[in-house]
Every structure is written in C-alpha cells, then in structure tokens.
Symmetry: C2
C-alpha cells in the first residue's frame, strides 16, 4: 500500500496549479513563501489605470484565495518547510523596451490577428519575481498565471513550484471563447460579470453574447424601444444601454472581447410581439415551423424587413468596441417561408428563390455592419446549407452542427471558430424540455464531460495550408434549461477545457502530446476548480474529494 | 393567433400553485387579497412551541415570497380586480376536539404507520380561513399548502384561487423521502438545513441521510473518535454530535424524519484509514474489488469486526429519535472476500460461506439496533442477492437497482421504499467521472427528467393484497459529481416529483389519472420552482421562461 502511494506521489506533475498550462514552463518543487509585505511593482512610467487595477486585483486574489493544496492533509506536510523557506517580497511587472502602454481594454478588443498576449514570468528561489510582456494585455495574462501559483496553509501563503520560469508563453489560437445565451432565460449583469471574472482566470478572451432569440429580446435599443418593451420577459429582465457598456468595459479590462450576436433571420419570433408584420409563421405550430417553440422568422424577402434588421443591428453594433459582430443565421425553417403568403408573393414578384432572397438580406445587413468597420460572424449553415454568395471572404464562420463540418467550411476559404455541439455544448444531457415527452433525451445527448471536450482536436482534417483559418473555439451554454441558478455549476470548470485546448495547443511544455493526457490534466483542473470555489464560484465537483486529493488513484 | 391564446387561457387549471396537489380540492378563480394586518391565530390552548414557530415561518414566507404569478404580464391584469376584491384578515389554526397537542417534532418521528398528516383547509370569499387537523403534524402540512396560494403584484399579496376547500387531504403513502450522500463530497449543516426547508415546502417527510461511504467518514462519534479523525476529509468537513442533533431537530420541527444510513459491510474502505485490520482488499485495485474507487470492505466474517460494527451503529443510533436506521448492504464485492486471506481462514475454520457469514454479521448488527427499538432498513441486495435469512419480517427494503425488482422483494413479504435508479437517481447523466475515460457515460444514463420520474407507478406488478407493503419512495442524490455548489440545482425542483407521486397518489382531485398528466403538472411544478427561487434556493429552470408563462404552449 505504502509503495503504491509513493509511486503516485512521484508521478504528480510539477505544475498542478496552472490552467491553461503554459506552452513553455520550467518549474521546481521548492517551497517559497509570500512575504507578508508582498507588493507588485509596475516598473514603467504612465501605466494605464486598468493595468493598475488588474495588479491590485491579483494582489487581493492571492491573499483571499486561501486555497489549501489538494493533497492528503491539505498542506500540513508543507508546513515543515515554512521555517527555512525563502520569502518573496514582490513581483515586478514590466513592458519590453519601447512597447506601447495602451490600456488592456484597448488591446483586448483589437482585431484577432493584432493582439499580442505573450508574456514571460520568472520566480526565483532567492525571492525575486519578474513579469515581462510586449503589451498590457500580455501582462494581464501573466498575472492570471501568477495568481495560480499560491496556496495557503494555516495562514501562510506559499508556492511549491519554485523556482519557475515561463519564457514567452502565448496562445496557440487567438480566439478562446465562451458563449452565453441570455434569451431563453435571463441573466443579470452581475451573473455575467461573475462569469467574466472566471473567464479571466483561465485566459478565455471572447464572450460570445447570444443576446436575443425566439423567446425574448432582453436588450433596450434607444432607436427601437418597442423591441424590449414587448419582447423582454420584463423591463427588469432586460439590458439598458448602460448595462451593455458596463459589461463590455468590465470584460475588456479583464482582457475579454465581447462578440455580440443578434441571431437573424431565424430565431426571431419575439420580434413579432412588436412587429407582427415582419415575422412569418408567428406563433404558428412550432413543431412544423421551428426547431423549438415559439415559431416565427423574419420575412427576409421583404426589403422593409431587411432595412429594419440592418437598422437594429447597426444601432447595437455602433455602440460596441469589438471588431466582430454576429448576425447568426442558423436553423432557418424553409417550410415557414413556403407557407407564408406575403413571402411567396414577394418571391414571385421578384423572381427569386428564398435563398437568393437571403443573399440580398445578408448583403443589406452585413453591408451595414461593414460600414461600421465590423467583421461579420455567422453560423455554419450560411456557408454549408444556404449557399450564401454575398459573404465577404473575411467572414468568420462558427461550426456548431458537428465537428466534422469544420473541414468543409475551411475548404471554402473561410476562417472558423470551433463550437461543435458534439464536443463543446455545455447544456447537452439534461433531457428533453418539451414538457409532455416522458422518455425524451436532449437532442445532443449525452452530457459533454470535461474528458470528452478535452480530446477535441482543432486540426482534424485540416491541411497545413489551412491551419491559419482556424481561429480557435468556444464552449457554449444554451439556456433552455439553465438560468442564474445553475450558471456557475453547468459552466465551470468544464468551460475551462477549451481554454487549454486553444491556449496550450497540441503539446505540453514537457514536449508530450496534450491531447489524450487526461490523467495529467485532471489534477490541474481540480486545482483551478477548487480555486474558483474559493472565489465564490459554484464550480461543480468533478469527482469525490478523495480522488481530488490523490491524483491518478481514480483512473481506470 | 388570438383565438389560440384564448384556448390556452381557458385550459389553465385552477390550482396552478399547489405542489403536491391535494387529494381533494375544490377551488374557485376569484381574487382574494391578504390583509396588511393578516394574522394566523392558533385556536387551542397550550400549543407546542414548534407549532408556533411553524406558524410564524408561514406568515413570514407569505410576506417575503413576493412571487409574481407565472402569466404574461406577471399579474398586471390581476391588479384590475384589487380595488373590489375582499381581504383575508387571518387564518385560524385548530386541532380537532380532544386531539393530542404533541409537538410536531414528536409526531414527525413516530413510526411510519402511526403518523397522521391529514388536514382540512378552507378559504372563503368573504374573508375567512380555517385550517383543521388531528395532529400538529397535520397542521404543518396544511400550512405548507396555505403558503403556496399567494402571489405578489406591485406590493399586493393575493390569491387567485378563492374560494378554496380542501377536505381531509392526506398522503397516499407514509414515506416520501429524499436521500443525500454526504460522503463522496461534504455538505455543511447549512446546506442540509436549506434542503430541509425546501423538503418541507413540498411535504417530503424523510431525509435519508447516507452519511458514510468508501471515500470519507464525516461523522464524529465520541466512542470511536478515530473514524472521523482518520476518515473525514478534514475535521471541518465532519459532523460533530451537536451538528447531527441540530439537523435532526431542525428536520423534525419541519415534519421530517431523519433516517440515518451507515452503509455496511461494503462501501467501507475509509474505515481502513483507522482500522486497517478490519478491512479486506483495502486500497487494492478498485476495478477488481469495488464498483468505484477506493476498494475496501469490512471483514464481515470476523466476529470482532461484527461487534465493532454493531458498536459503531449503536453509538450513532442511540442518539437519534427516528424509529428507523439503515445498515445499507449494497454492492458487496465477493472477489474481495475470495482473495482475502484472513476472511478465507475464518470461513474455513467456521465452515461457512461468505453469505452465511453475512447472515451472522447482520444478526449481530441488526440485533444491536433492534435492542435500541429501531426498525432496520437495507438495500435490495440483502434480500434478492445475498439471501440473508436473519432479516426480521418488519425490515424495510430499498429497491434501487431497477424498478422491476420491487415485485420480487414484496413477494418475500418485506415492506419496500421505491428508490429506483431508472426513475429516481438525480445524479444520472453527468458522464463518467473515472478520469481517463473520454467517452464514458454515467452508468445510469440518461439524466432522469422530471417527466420520466413523474411517470413512475408505485404499484406496477404489485397485487392488491401487497399494496400495504409499499411504504412510498424517494429520489436520491449520490454525490461523486456533486457538492454544495450544485446541490440546489441538481435536486430542485426535480426531487419534488416523488413527493406528488407519493402524496397525491394515482388520482388527481378532479378524478383524472395523475400519472401521465404532464401538461397539467408542469405549470404547478414551474410555480413551486419559481417559489423556491424566491426563497433563495437555486432550483433549475425546466424551460425557457417564455414557456413557463404560457402553459401548454411548449408541449409537442
């Protein structure tokens, strides 16, 4: 028995606490205490306020996390070394010579290709530490790494990973997202901010905010007040313009870009509550005309509807700093248009098919967004099913139906974001929510475990000359069966999985394959999950605590 | 469209708010306001303090629930009637002539057959209301019904169900439980109390507390302090004797009996942390010797171990008021004993098989509990697989492997509690937690939806002369992948389903079959779920709010 335990102890990786794991990492296993007067010094002039704020949050988190190390005894054996261990008096934060000192919030919303998130971090055994980057955004990434080094036992804050050197850690992919649907059920600004805090911790850098859907329209738009008045569940369940700016700024200061999606022309039934003339098959039998209740799609063939939609999208988009904006475009129900008299009349009069009309609709809505300097984002059907010909080459396409569809989209030369339902949908496995079906499972059953998600390979069936088209990926929460009550527990720690896939890439710092290395990953995922809990996030247990304290003992 | 909505409105049942629905119910659809000076008067002398406390809690809840009615507009149309509606100045709470005035806490822990939970409640349109019962426990049940009548719009508290008459509502089955496993992951006393509050709301009357398991021993027993010292995840993650008394009394005052289970002789690996000599195959390969890690089972053939176990069980049982105590008895791994030298030596020396030894072990442990006046409770394998011959006739058997096993247990004359994994396990569907299996599903996949659970028939394959052996049932949370973080959301509102199955029985108050009536049940389940949320419980959304506001609109 004792031999068995000893073997396990030796096999414990040396970097349990860091998620996502840096691409380069050299770490020891010595104990270094945090000095009680520990300070973080910004070593350059005119640092932007949001960097100073981030530094201040890091310092606070290190002191308030109070995470006991995940070993039997929770650190009691570490304490033997406290008397002789060195103390770390401070961390110096620096920019490379001549680097710009733009705010984090500015760097975070730059176009994907223009962001520099790289950083280097060293913590020496004799008690000095330095974080260096080319940008304030890179420094922020380094701070989130630094925060994860620290444990607390009996009041002493310490790391067991000293000395530690990370040279030029930087993400394998520029887009590492999380999608939240705020339309099926409503989430408060506070719910979203809490989620952004945790996204920061694991270096997720895009909040894909699926704002509206068939069931509700929770955003107040000054130019179109009727949409929220008739379409929000209530005014208190809607986002005022100030709320949206608050979320966007809070995100940007944490290195997170907010990609807003207004899903069109499908998933728009609720527009009928204020504009019934603009919506086909409004509240008709959903089983015939929609993938879920309620039915209703924008009458896309009508130029008045296209102009209205372009106006709505522009009214929101112009208030947002992101270079990206999503117009959705998934799950169009063609029967709805076939049976809609006004639509058929227009199509007949103009001699177009419904998909030709969609092309015109898209030209109008995307044109308005391009005029605002936005890069448009769409779901995969726009490319694979509707043969939309007016999409600009720089359109970003989200692949959701199946991971197997990625290659076909890339083949057409579009950039993609991986959002595959068969790996990354966080809501799968909770059963059928259509109420009178006692035996139904969720359409994307089963539940996507962290293990299943972790095995996702972003480059499967992608040729080497197409690799540059893969921007990254995101895990997604559709909220038919979710709300603020289970937000934390259904999202965390699972949504951190894609952050490691797209930050660390295919190779661990020791040169071994990351993919498939579940036994190495799990202790680190436990660690960051327990840290989330210390921060008040209701992240779920992945295993009995017995297993969390004994790496590999609960492997098969 | 408008015609469609009107049809829906007429089809809305008249008693949306009550869960479980009373067995007799006559209700109107008039609005009655709660007077601002509303009072609850106890109309008999010497009421026990715990009834007064319950009355006080009910009065508070009615004022603090502030639940807006689940209709489009959330009650705005009700407010038109507020000016002319009558006000209810008070509720009178009475016992029947000559009834005993024992405390609720005493009635709640009586033997199952001796509890009287019946009550009658009337609320008249002219503003009077009366609750009558034979026992304080019955009054408590009536209070939980009364609490569910009230909504709030713009500061006015009101019901839409007046006049209302419930005559002699009483449960179809005496055992309506919920099981919580506090061993795989730890729950605080506060987590348990929060759960008890919600159990009270839906008339669940047994907390089956699965205290210990292979992974941890979170209970401090003064006579055996070493068990928690070595076996709790930490001392702060264990229950002191006072904690247990606190939970038991809190439960009893809310009409809930606490059935403690110490699972033996399997699921006891953690006993090896303090008593390695008492545990076979301790920490050996779990895939061979246990259904999940870690391996280890009590050396049941050893009389010293049987006596030790009887001592441990008695030490806990003697502190508990319940008439029931569970010794577990599930999932014995026979290979563990076959390969265990000390066990084989004893079996050879005494000329017994392992199951004959189990019989002796059970005689010892159950005997000790019977001496304390306890009725023993076991899992189904003790009857169906191990052919235990020493079980007393009054043993209560929990059927968990499959609902199909119920008939075979009843056939042997034992009383049963339905706890079928295929209907009532709340943890199913969250994937395999053994860490290095990327494609594994949970063993009891899929997720048990409320609809699936609701279709459970307690009398399937039970003959009429066996009906008296069916005590009721419970939904269960095994916590390998759960903890305080998702307790509310994985349990509620789903665990309320069995409370209606076993309170209301097979027939709705209007005479229609309850089973299969999902469309009628869902609006009421939404209602009680939204009420739970108002009480600070993180009960999950069952559907988009759009559906919750529009009964039947999201049926197929």
């Amino acid at each position: 028995m004792f031999t068995f335990s000893l073997v396990l102890a030796l096999a414990i990786p040396n970097c349990l606490g860091i998620w996502p794991i840096p691409r380069s990492l050299d770490s020891g296993n010595q104990i270094l205490k945090l000095s009680e007067s520990f300070a973080i010094t910004v070593g350059f002039t005119n640092p932007p306020q949001d960097l100073l704020d981030a530094v201040s949050r890091t310092k606070d988190s290190i002191k308030t996390d109070q995470l006991a190390r995940l070993v039997v005894g929770r650190g009691s054996t570490d304490s033997n070394a406290f008397r002789t261990a060195e103390s770390l008096p401070g961390l110096t934060v620096k920019l490379e010579e001549g680097a710009s000192t733009q705010p984090i919030a500015t760097e975070a919303v730059a176009a994907l290709g223009l962001r520099d998130e790289s950083y280097s971090l060293s913590v020496s055994l004799n008690g000095s530490a330095e974080l260096v980057a080319n940008t304030t955004l890179g420094l922020l990434r380094g701070l989130s790494t630094f925060e994860q080094l620290w444990y607390t036992y009996n009041g002493t804050i310490y790391t067991t990973y000293a000395p530690l050197t990370i040279v030029n850690d930087s993400p394998a992919y520029p887009y590492r997202g999380f999608m939240l649907d705020t339309a099926r059920n409503f989430f408060t600004v506070s719910d979203i901010k809490r989620t952004l805090d945790t996204m920061y911790l694991v270096k997720i850098n895009v909040l894909h905010w699926h704002m509206t859907d068939a069931q509700s329209w929770p955003i107040q738009i000054p130019e179109f007040p009727e949409l929220a008045q008739a379409g929000a569940y209530s005014i208190s369940q809607s986002y005022a313009p100030d709320d949206i700016q608050d979320v966007v700024m809070y995100a940007a200061e944490r290195g997170i870009d907010v990609l807003v999606e207004i899903d069109t022309p499908g998933h728009t039934s609720i527009v009928g509550a204020s504009h019934p003339d603009y919506v086909a098959c409004y509240l008709l039998d959903w089983a015939t005309y929609a993938s879920e209740p309620p039915a209703g799609q924008l009458r896309l063939a009508d130029p008045a509807v296209a102009n209205f939609t372009a106006g709505v999208l522009s009214a929101i988009a112009k208030t947002l700093p992101s270079t990206m904006f999503s117009t959705g475009g998934d799950e169009l129900n063609t029967a709805c248009y076939t049976d809609d008299e006004p639509t058929q009349m227009i199509l007949n009069n103009t001699g177009r098919t419904i998909f030709e009309a969609l092309d015109d609709f898209t030209a109008t809505t995307h044109g308005a967004l391009h005029d605002l300097g936005k890069t448009t984002v769409v779901w995969e059907e726009m490319v694979l099913d509707y043969n939309t010909t007016t999409l600009r080459n720089d359109t970003i396409v989200m692949v959701w139906v199946s991971s197997e569809d990625a290659a076909a989209v890339v083949q057409q030369g579009y950039r993609i974001v991986h959002a595959p339902s068969n790996y990354f949908y966080l809501d799968c496995g909770a059963g059928e929510w259509i109420s009178n079906d006692p035996t139904g499972n969720s359409w994307c059953d089963p539940f996507k475990t962290w293990q299943e998600s972790y095995t996702f390979d972003p480059l499967e069936n992608i040729t080497s000359d197409q690799v540059h088209l893969v921007l990254g990926g995101e895990q997604l929460l559709w909220t038919e069966q979710s709300g603020p009550q289970n937000l934390d527990s259904i999202v965390w720690p699972r949504a951190a999985v894609s952050s490691e896939i797209f930050w660390t890439g295919a190779t661990l710092p020791d040169g071994f394959d990351r993919v498939g290395n579940l036994s190495e990953a799990l202790p680190r995922l436990h660690d960051v999950r327990y840290r989330m809990v210390q921060r008040g996030i209701n992240a779920i247990n992945l295993q009995p605590e017995w297993c969390a304290l004994r790496p590999q003992a609960c492997d098969e």
